[in-house]
Symmetry: C2
Subunit: 160 residues, 2 copies
């Protein structure tokens, strides 16, 4: 089972997929609503507690998350880093293995083109998982990185 | 009791001061050595567990931390944000009140000049707390922000 996370300081998306052989199956997804008006420490605590519940409930072995090289500016990198720090810490606490993928790797894995648009990625996530109904943007992004890890680890297994 | 924190992803300094009236007294200080070679999630977990022990042991009511507006680059802002996120989350979990101070506020409070050097701040911290023996740089920086909160909250109390 692979947990994908799309970190944000106001909304953090998550998605769980099961993967065996060449097939990935949708299990669950959602988003932690951290609130935009609450003080940052409270939002981070909400995120941490939400993750703890999620990890206790599903016990995933792997977590996939987007690798961040740059952000629009240092300020947004700093705030995004806060949420990411809480996520990485929660994974280490439960012994969940972390895998990071660059945005271009995710687009390549999901759409087949490293410069695909966000909309194309979201559309393909729904199609790949045969998911009925709309997925929130953050859920879809979280599922995309989970699917990327499924594809990459499947490929690694076939090579070895 | 005020806990000052100087966050870093390899070394996070901390310092505790007690404050009553106009006087601040040194209680304890140290640094969490998170290691530079370990994976970041492990380092963040070490930081989180170290903070939990510290908060359980001393039960400070207030935590003071440097406010970060900019960093040299987005990359270092992101990594610093990870450590800061874990710290803010640990404080919220224990109900410790967070206070943030800009670097110039800290220099102003400790040395009396907003453009003081790091060395001047460290020298003054030792003098203000009548601390014998050398303080590590990270400890001194953590004590500096704790003392800044002591000075600012003391001032606020005198005004009101």
């Amino acid at each position: 089972m692979i947990l994908g996370i799309d970190p944000g300081s106001q909304l953090t998306g998550w998605g769980l997929v099961d993967h065996s052989g060449n097939r990935s199956v949708y299990l669950a997804s959602g988003a932690f609503k951290l609130g935009s008006r609450r003080p940052l420490p409270e939002r981070l605590l909400r995120l941490s507690e939400g993750l703890e519940d999620l990890l206790a409930r599903y016990e995933p072995r792997h977590c996939a998350i987007e690798q961040i090289f740059t952000a629009k500016n240092a300020r947004s990198a700093l705030v995004l880093g806060h949420a990411r720090g809480v996520i990485l810490c929660a994974m280490a606490r439960r012994g969940v293995l972390l895998h990071e993928y660059a945005p271009t790797q995710i687009k390549q894995a999901i759409v087949g083109v490293g410069r695909a648009s966000k909309e194309q990625v979201q559309l393909m996530v729904g199609a790949l998982l045969a998911h009925r109904g709309a997925l929130q943007e953050d859920e879809a992004d979280a599922l995309a990185v989970a699917l990327t890890h499924a594809a990459c680890s499947g490929l690694a297994a076939r090579i070895s």
